[in-house]
Each structure stands twice: as C-alpha cells, then as structure tokens.
C-alpha cells in the first residue's frame, strides 16, 4: 500500500527524514527503529570538514523557523569512514546529500560518495542559502544547475536527485534544465531565504543575518511548485516543506510528489516520521485508496 519505487530507491514507504534535520541518524536511532523509515537523507557532505556559521543559527517565525547552520559536517571522507558504516546495519536506503563551494568540489564529493555501497542515491544540494560561495548560486541559474548536474552524473555510480531552490522566478525552467542534464529525480523544495530582526538589539537575530525558512509556513509554496513542475517533468519528485502529518503527505502526493521528506517537524515531534508512517494506511483506507501511488498528481490529472 505504501511501497514506492524511484530510481535507485525501493522504498517500503514514501517517508524519509530530510537532509540536515536528521544528522546521520544516530540521534533519532536512539528513539526508534530506523528500519521503519522509507529512506534516510543524510546531512550534506562537503569535500572538506565545515564548522558552519556562528551562532545564533536558528530563529523562530510564525509557523516556521529560520536556520543558518552553514553545512556543518565532518567532510566526505569522515562521513564515509565513520558515519556510513553505522548506517549499514539498517535495511533502509541512504540518500547522500552533496554540497560544495566549487563545481569541482561537488564532483569529487559525489564521486567518493556514490562509490559507497550504503549509498543508494545522491541528492545534489544546489540550493543551500547559508553558504557564501556556491550553494544557492548553483540553484538559481538554469545553465549553471544543468552543467553541475551533468558533471555529477558523469561521475556518479548512483542515481542523482537534484534539490531545487524555491528562491527563483521560474521553478519550471530550473526543473527542466536539470532534467535535460540527466537528473534522475528532483527534491523540492529547499528553504526560502528569510530574515528576522530582534526588536531589542535592532539587529538581525541570526549571526549570518539571513537564513533558510522551513516548516509549515512554506508548505503552500512547495505544493504550488510541485504542482507546476510535476506536470512538466517526467522524473519523480520528492516533496519537502512543512510536512507535519499524514494529511500533509497526501496533499504532496496529490500535487505530484512520489515521496516526501520531513525536516523541521522532527525537531518539534521527534517521533513524527513514525507517526506519519503509522497513520498513512488509515488515511488511505478512509479514502478507499489501495496504493498511495494512485494519488500522484491527482490534483491536475484529468
């Protein structure tokens, strides 16, 4: 009923924690059995270790949160040697998120990561708003995104999903560009660039000044973008943005997503992925749906 099949990914259910919100699984692995997840998208890997941005790195907004973590991670080699072996014991596909400052960083990181047998797919992070060099620049110019996708595809032994930024004028143009460049799938959306100012200090709350907005506040933006893009591309979409419960998952499928990733909600309810996986069959039964794949794109299909 919940099985979903995407390039490189045979998922027992379509629910996975989103990159950056689940580290490398160890913390949530203390709370529940990770085997129940559809997949895990691990924290972004960069070629070299990164500490990330100064603190404060998070700020709250109505229905959302701003973050400017800045891709803190121990670097691709250490992730491969220390983190992936710990995930190997789980029967859950691992999707490795890849980020970089230069195209060559992405290519080398992707090449290393895609060779690891634990990794079943790559997610190309061309949309992190919190790093000065690279990051979002790669995700806002279609030609640049396409070139990066093609170069990573050329070295990757695993399917490549491209995580799109919502901070663009024409999301369909971005999606088509990376699809034509060989992307096997899309993740959408990443966070929306935002800012908050402290009334007492009269300065931005985040040390990085700007951050990425996530949480329920961005769900309508993601739904709209997936609705538009899924009608134009053939490759599957992993829907991301403000998902809090099974109803939200169903809405994403209706918009055109074929799987979903849960981010901020994990912080609010650490068991949210489990609860959604538990609740989905009941919701589908109530809708007289035998297979969740039947819902994909129903909002626009004639």
């Amino acid at each position: 009923m919940l099985d979903v099949h995407l390039p490189g990914l045979d998922l027992k259910n379509p629910v996975m924690p989103a990159s950056g919100c689940f580290a490398f699984g160890a913390e949530y692995g203390k709370l529940y059995d990770l085997n129940q997840l559809g997949a895990i998208i691990i924290k972004a890997a960069t070629l070299e270790a990164r500490f990330g941005n100064p603190t404060p790195r998070v700020a709250e907004t109505p229905g959302g949160m701003l973050n400017a973590i800045g891709l803190q991670n121990p670097g691709v080699d250490k992730i491969i040697s220390h983190e992936l072996p710990r995930l190997a014991k789980y029967d859950v596909p691992i999707i490795a998120n890849i980020a970089g400052s230069e195209m060559s960083d992405y290519v080398r990181t992707a090449e290393k990561m895609s060779k690891d047998p634990v990794v079943k797919a790559l997610e190309l992070n061309i949309s992190c708003p919190n790093v000065k060099h690279g990051g979002i620049l790669f995700g806002t110019v279609p030609e640049v995104a396409a070139e990066l996708t093609a170069r990573v595809k050329a070295v990757s032994e695993k399917p490549v999903y491209v995580k799109l930024s919502p901070n663009v004028t024409d999301i369909v143009a971005m999606a088509l560009a990376v699809e034509q460049a060989g992307a096997d799938g899309l993740s959408m959306i990443n966070t929306l660039l935002g800012m908050r100012i402290d009334l007492k200090t009269q300065k931005p709350i985040l040390a990085n000044k700007t951050g990425g907005l996530s949480g329920p506040a961005i769900k309508p933006v993601a739904i709209r973008m997936i609705y538009e893009v899924s009608q134009k591309v053939k490759i599957p979409i992993i829907g991301i943005g403000g998902i809090q419960n099974a109803d939200d998952v169903i809405e994403y499928f209706l918009a055109g997503a074929r799987a979903v990733a849960i981010g901020t909600a994990n912080f609010i309810n650490p068991f949210v992925c489990m609860e959604i996986i538990h609740d989905l069959p009941k919701k589908l039964e109530a809708m007289h749906i035998d297979d969740i794949n039947e819902l994909v794109g129903r909002s626009w299909k004639k």
Partner: protein, 260 residues
Amino acid sequence: MIQEDMITLSQREIADDIFELKLQGEISGEISEPGQFVHIRVGSESGSVAPLLRRPISICTADQRHQQLTLIYRSTGLGTQLLSHAVKGQKIDVFGPLGHGFPVGAVSEGGRALLIGGGVGVPPLYGLSQALADKGVQITHVLGFRSEKDIFYENEFAELGETIILTEDGTNGRVGRVTDVLADLDFDVAYACGPLPMLIAVQKMITSKPLYLSMEQRMGCGIGACMACAVHTVNPNDDKGYRRVCCDGPVFRAGEVELC
C-alpha cells in the same frame, strides 16, 4: 529520553515574571544529573503551529519517588508566556531529560562546593545543591539578581548552605555582581549557571580550581541532530573541534568550549 504529556501539579509566580511549574510524569524517573533540561512544546493541544519550536527549560529539581519535576523559568516570549498560563491538571508535551548536567562526583563528601548563579540561571543550581547536600558536601551559594523583585528561592538555598545574595541595584543583599565576592571564598570545585557575560567573568576569576559552566544556546532538535547549538572547542587539536550544547552539554568543564 522520552516524550510524554506530563500533568501540571501546580504553577505559581515566585518572582517578577519567574514561574515555578511542578509536573508529574515518567520523565522524572529518567533524570540522572542535576543540570539536565527538558524540551517543552506549548500550544500544541490547540493544533496551532505557533509557537512552532520546543522550548528548552532547565530542570530545577526531580523527585523520582513521587515522579515529580520542578521547573523554574522566566516568562519572556510567546512560548514561555503560554506556558505560564498552564493550570493544575493541564497536560504539557515534554521531551527529555536531555543533555549532560553538573558532575556531582567532582567533589567528595566533606568537600566544599561553590555554586554561582545569575538570574534565570539559578534554578538548576538548586537541584545541584540538593544533590551535593545529600552527599555531605559543604556548599556556598552566590546568587546574583537584577533587583529584589527578581529574587526567588532565597530561603530554600539558605537551608542547604551559606547563601550570598547580590542585586545590581542594591535593593536586597549586597550590591553588585556575583564576581564581586568570589575572591574571598574558599572551595574545592565551582559550578556556575547564568548569562554569558557572567560565565566569562567567572571563568576569568576561577582558574586554579575545577569549574563547571552551564551554557545556553538557541536549539532546534535538542538531541544533537540539527547542529544549531554547536560551539567551538578551545583545544585546536580536539578530534571533533566542536560540541553541541544540547547533547554534549549544556554543562562543560571550563576551558572545554569557547564561551561566545
């Protein structure tokens, strides 16, 4: 660490915008050290997404036998203001206990401990003081507040050991800040919790004795996954180079992490 709906046993305002909240539930039995914290979600019962994130609140005391938890917090923003409206019998979504607290074992029976607290950093020191007193440690408390209206638990602390109260405006106790009296005190180990400038000042003054500091940092998940609360280590050769305040702390030995 568990997530549960704890039951509100009582709530009262014990100083200006400072609330004492007593909760009942299984989390009380999970607490291993004074200085740990819980992550509280407020307003969720209405289905609201504001405030969205949980609020980290330090544990004042835990009564494992009666499954009770006492929290003392300042009502400052939307989340804590909503929490301050919780009444007896109300359920509150609590996740915890989280983090590593104060090492009670850092001082032995008959030893002398100095507890230094500032403002809303004072509550976890009360649980620590209880644990140290149970162990037979001689305790001195140095507690700083802005003004008389901000003072709480003065008598409770006094029952456990010598208690020096300071206020910045001199309306109660001695006038000044906690650092004004430290030079005259004798102790084997010191513990501090309070605003960052206070921790920095205390760390500058106490250099020859073990000192443990409880840090505050904005958090997302509270369990070490989101990296929102990462701080640099002081030792450049440290393997990781960083600590997460939520799960590696909030209590660190002075000199382990950069205070910033």
